[in-house]
């Protein structure tokens, strides 16, 4: 018995060590290493809450360990500290009701303020107008339309740094969610509705973006890259695109809406000229076109992902 216990202690000693490892590893996790103010505010909130949660966990685990070790029924234990009828204590019960309540209140305040902040462009860049991008999901690809620039990309995104991006989210068919973990949290894309999501990058780089809301067979591959670059580089890219990219025709667009994966594409106009899936009247545009196409399977598996041509 005794032997066993020492064994135990040794393993126990490993626990804090592994915790240190975990926590140092954490700083590299995407969500905890944001590249823009929106993700930063969310990370701050998460870390803030994490301290309270760790506090609660520590308290409960300590109490638990104490009870289980101290009050186990071991041979030779006397009845001095055994009180089978003990069944209440109003004071302590009030304490452990009120303290969690206070924690909830403390957590609610930053939650609510952050929620309201997220509905506006991030603070630091308010002197610049946000860049408007229509992000439209269609089974299983992304259309990004830049109405002011008059260009449209499929399955990749260019954005300037240090300027708020105002995403207008909608979907041609199933419900999706635009998520760029390095830049901030997600929101849903729904047909017939328009959601607004503000994100911003303050470091140039290439970030992963994707649809995070399951929407059928091609879901896993509904991803895109975000190229965040300086305002000048962005402008250059826009100019070049306008000059070199082909025009998107409605016919071509309708073909692209057909459920399936797609390569990266670039156009020097936007589909908003003939359809805006975020409006009530265009909500069934894709469904009416492709009703039968949903019956076909993609037969997507790990060998047949290449159609999409990631890079």
């Amino acid at each position: 018995m005794k032997h066993k216990q020492q064994h135990w202690r040794r393993w126990l000693a490993l626990l804090p060590l592994s915790l240190v490892f975990l926590l140092s590893g954490c700083s590299e996790l995407t969500v905890l290493d944001p590249k823009g103010p929106v993700g930063q505010s969310q990370k701050d909130l998460i870390v803030f809450s994490l301290w309270f949660m760790l506090g609660i966990v520590v308290v409960v685990f300590a109490l638990f360990t104490f009870m289980v070790i101290k009050y186990r029924n071991r041979p030779g234990r006397d009845d001095k500290d055994y009180d089978p009828d003990l069944h209440g204590n109003t004071a302590i019960e009030i304490v452990w009701t009120v303290i969690p309540l206070i924690i909830v209140i403390i957590l609610s305040v930053p939650t609510v303020t952050t929620l309201f902040d997220l509905e506006k462009p991030p603070e630091g860049s308010q002197d610049k107008e946000p860049l408007v991008i229509y992000a439209t999901s269609a089974d299983w690809k992304w259309f990004f339309s830049y109405p002011e620039q008059g260009i449209e990309t499929v399955n990749y995104l260019h954005i300037p740094t240090d300027r708020a991006i105002e995403f207008r989210l909608s979907s041609a068919d199933s419900m999706a969610a635009l998520w760029i973990p390095r830049l901030g949290g997600q929101k849903y894309n729904m047909a017939g509705m328009e959601n607004t999501l503000y994100l911003e990058a303050d470091e140039p780089g290439v970030y992963d973006g994707r649809n995070s809301n399951f929407n059928g067979e091609g879901f896993t591959e509904q991803t895109f890259k975000v190229h965040a670059e300086s305002e000048n580089a962005f402008k250059e890219w826009v100019e070049k695109t306008k000059k070199e990219a082909p025009k998107l025709t409605q016919k071509k667009y309708n073909e692209l809406l057909d459920p399936g994966l797609s390569k990266k594409l670039t156009f020097s106009n936007t589909h908003l000229a003939w359809v805006d899936h975020g409006t009530n009247q265009d909500r069934d545009y894709a469904i009416e076109l492709h009703r039968d196409a949903y019956q076909e399977l993609l037969h997507l598996d790990n060998e047949r992902k290449d159609d999409k041509e990631h890079e």
């Binding site: 996790l29 966990v57 186990r72 019960e93 309540l101 939650t111 997220l118 849903y188 992963d208 997507l300």
Partner: protein, 644 residues
């Protein structure tokens, strides 16, 4: 419809499934025939209205479903272990996570708990059966056939593949054609009828059939948790009924509730689903709380701390559970104000939950803990559930949830609460009440082995998922990128640990059946509540004489006073309901109708519905009022059971 459209073809795994189904069913049929057990099966089990037998059938079915859901889980874990795994393709993976989720919640967790309630609640309150034994049988068969209907989908017609949440428009007729999604709808609808009926049944039983003298605030805590759960069932399940019906009407009759055409509103499904769905998660956790409370009080050899607070916190949780559903789609874009309100209401649930945790800890204070296997499950529950709870609060902070939502962080949260809560409780409850059900205990050595395998496996599986979620891994993807591999490998290893734990658990059932010492008294664990006052095995009428209760922990008081549930002077003939085959027949016909609806064979469905109505008419004219067990008979049974 051609035969090769009817049967699912082209998947080796599914062929293997078909073969094993055929093998197992022929083996069962052969054994039943060989040992001439068909009559026995019909008379003793299929037609029973005895709550204890029905409970056992619930639990057996739930264990089978746990196996099925577990196989799904292992297959998913294999596919996700490495980036280039080609074990399941995307479509197959989608089907598997859909059936896994649905089976685990609807056909495993709930029936398991309802099975335990079936057996224990009447015993705990000193009742001789349910208020409506016939309806109880009906409930069981509706669940059973619902589960069968759902499970058959993977060999016939094709599995549903839109997730257990089945969000529209994806799950609508346009984007999910074919019978798969209909299986989901009809399977849940069929078993939902039974759940609602059980809710009503147990509620009346608890309100009206308590032993003389037992006040509401003297009821055992598991009975209280059942009562509160039944309230949630009665108020939540009709919402699911409607939601499923609307989607069925959409899919089969072309209505436009959740469609993109005709100005339907897909998000209305999400709302209806979670208005039921969030209460549903409390339907599966409150009884678990009740079980842990019983187990902890028994093996801490101490009265439960803060009984009143325990009851009131459950009532509060039940009330709040109807006011938080929006937290499942904070990202819908309902605006900062709506999200704030639901954020706060969500976090508030943690307060009564916390109260319960502290009460359990306080029950351990100045106690004398015996480490039996049921107690081990209950103890493991406390720290594990706390991890699930605090991450729940983090998810409840809507602004942060924009990052957690749809990620493995969420997956980790709900497995921490559902497994460490519900599944641990199912194991704890089964092992705790096992001697009452089967007349012998489960072996402790194997019990502990399966406990450690399962619990360690559980943490190894799900703890890493919090981190891989924070690393941006979304739920429901069928393959991973290399960055996520290390944590996923760990998860997969853990999952096999859990699988092993479950296997040992099942082996233990067999081993103990062969080797365990048979119980001689009814009081296997030195219990505190009335179920332990009955002899083991429990006579079909439960109590020869129903004790008068005037205290909490009624059996403890009886033992002090030297009372039993067999007082020869007070015997009276006992009125019992007769067994009947009508419930199983009625539900089989309804299942036939549902099956026909799945394939949209309207004529056959109508025939089935008419058949069901005819069965109801027959039932209406049925005036079988049961029979009486005579005093002599009772004496004979009791003397034998009590070895007098």
């Amino acid at each position: 419809m051609k035969l090769d459209e009817f049967f699912v073809t082209g998947e080796p795994l599914i062929y293997a499934g078909m073969v094993s189904i055929v093998l197992v069913s022929s083996a069962v049929i052969f054994l039943l025939t060989y040992f001439k057990r068909w009559g026995w099966l019909w008379r003793e089990w299929l037609t029973t209205v005895d709550h204890k037998k029905i409970g056992i059938m619930y639990i057996l079915s739930a264990l089978a479903m746990l196996f099925r859901g577990g196989m799904d889980a292992l297959m998913m874990r294999v596919q996700l272990a490495f980036p280039d795994m080609n074990f399941l393709n995307a479509q197959h993976y989608d089907e598997i996570f859909t059936t896994h989720g649905t089976v685990m919640i609807i056909f495993m967790a709930m029936p398991f708990l309802i099975g335990l309630m079936n057996i224990i609640v009447p015993l705990q309150i000193g009742a001789r059966d349910f208020a409506f034994p016939f309806v109880n049988a009906l409930s069981f068969w509706s669940f059973f056939f619902g589960a069968m209907l759902f499970n058959i989908s993977f060999v016939i017609g094709g599995s549903p593949d839109a997730g257990w949440t089945s969000y529209t428009p994806l799950a609508g007729a346009a984007m999910s054609p074919g019978p798969g999604q209909n299986f989901y709808l009809m399977g849940l609808q069929l078993s939902g009828i039974g759940t609602l009926a059980t809710g009503i049944n147990l509620m009346v039983t608890i309100l009206k059939m308590r032993a003389p003298g037992m006040k509401m605030f003297q009821m055992p805590i598991f009975t209280w948790s059942t009562l509160v759960t039944c309230f949630i069932i009665v108020f939540a399940f009709p919402i699911l009924t409607v939601a499923l019906a609307l989607m069925t009407i959409d899919r089969i009759f072309g209505a436009q509730f959740f469609t993109l055409t005709g100005e339907g509103l897909p998000m209305m499904w999400a709302n209806l689903f979670w208005m039921w769905g969030h209460p549903e998660v409390y339907i599966v956790i409150l009884p678990a709380f009740g079980i842990f409370s019983e187990v902890i009080a028994t093996f801490a050899r101490k009265r439960l701390f803060g009984y009143n607070a325990m009851v009131w916190s459950m009532i509060l949780i039940a009330g709040l559970s109807f006011l938080v559903w929006v937290h499942h789609f904070f990202t819908m874009g309902a605006g900062a104000f709506v999200n704030s309100v639901f954020s706060v209401s969500t976090m508030l649930i943690a307060v009564p939950t916390g109260v319960k945790i502290f009460n359990w800890l306080a029950t351990l204070y100045k106690s004398k803990i015996e480490f039996t296997t049921p107690m081990m499950w209950a103890l493991a529950f406390i720290p594990s559930f706390v991890i699930g709870g605090v991450t729940g609060v983090m998810l409840g902070m809507a602004a942060a949830d924009y990052q957690f939502h749809n990620s493995y962080f969420l997956i980790a949260h709900f497995h921490y609460v559902l497994i460490a809560g519900t599944v641990f409780a199912c194991f704890a409850g089964l092992e705790y009440w096992y001697p009452k059900m089967f007349g012998h205990k489960l072996n402790e050595r194997f019990g502990k082995l399966s406990f450690w395998l399962f619990v360690i496996g559980f943490h190894v599986t799900f703890f890493p998922q919090y981190f891989v979620g924070l690393d941006g891994m979304p739920r429901r993807v069928f393959t991973i990128i290399p960055e996520w591999m290390p944590l996923n490998v760990i998860s997969t290893v853990g999952a096999f640990g859990m699988g092993l734990g479950f296997a040992v658990f099942c082996y233990n059932i067999y081993y103990s059946y062969r080797n365990s010492k048979r119980e001689e008294t009814g009081d296997s664990w030195n219990g505190r509540t009335l179920e332990w006052a009955t002899p083991t095995p429990v006579p079909f009428y439960n109590f020869a004489t129903v004790p008068h209760v005037d205290k909490y922990d009624a059996f403890l008081a009886m033992k002090e006073k030297g009372e039993t549930t067999y007082d020869e002077d007070k015997l009276e003939p006992i009125h019992m309901p007769s067994y009947t085959g009508k419930p199983i027949i009625m539900m089989a016909i309804l299942a036939f109708a549902s099956f026909a609806l799945v394939f949209e064979w309207i004529t056959l469905a109508v025939i089935g519905l008419i058949g069901t109505l005819i069965m109801m008419v027959i039932r209406s004219f049925d005036y079988d009022e049961g029979y009486h067990v005579e005093v002599e008979e009772i004496k004979r049974i009791e003397r034998k059971a009590r070895r007098l």
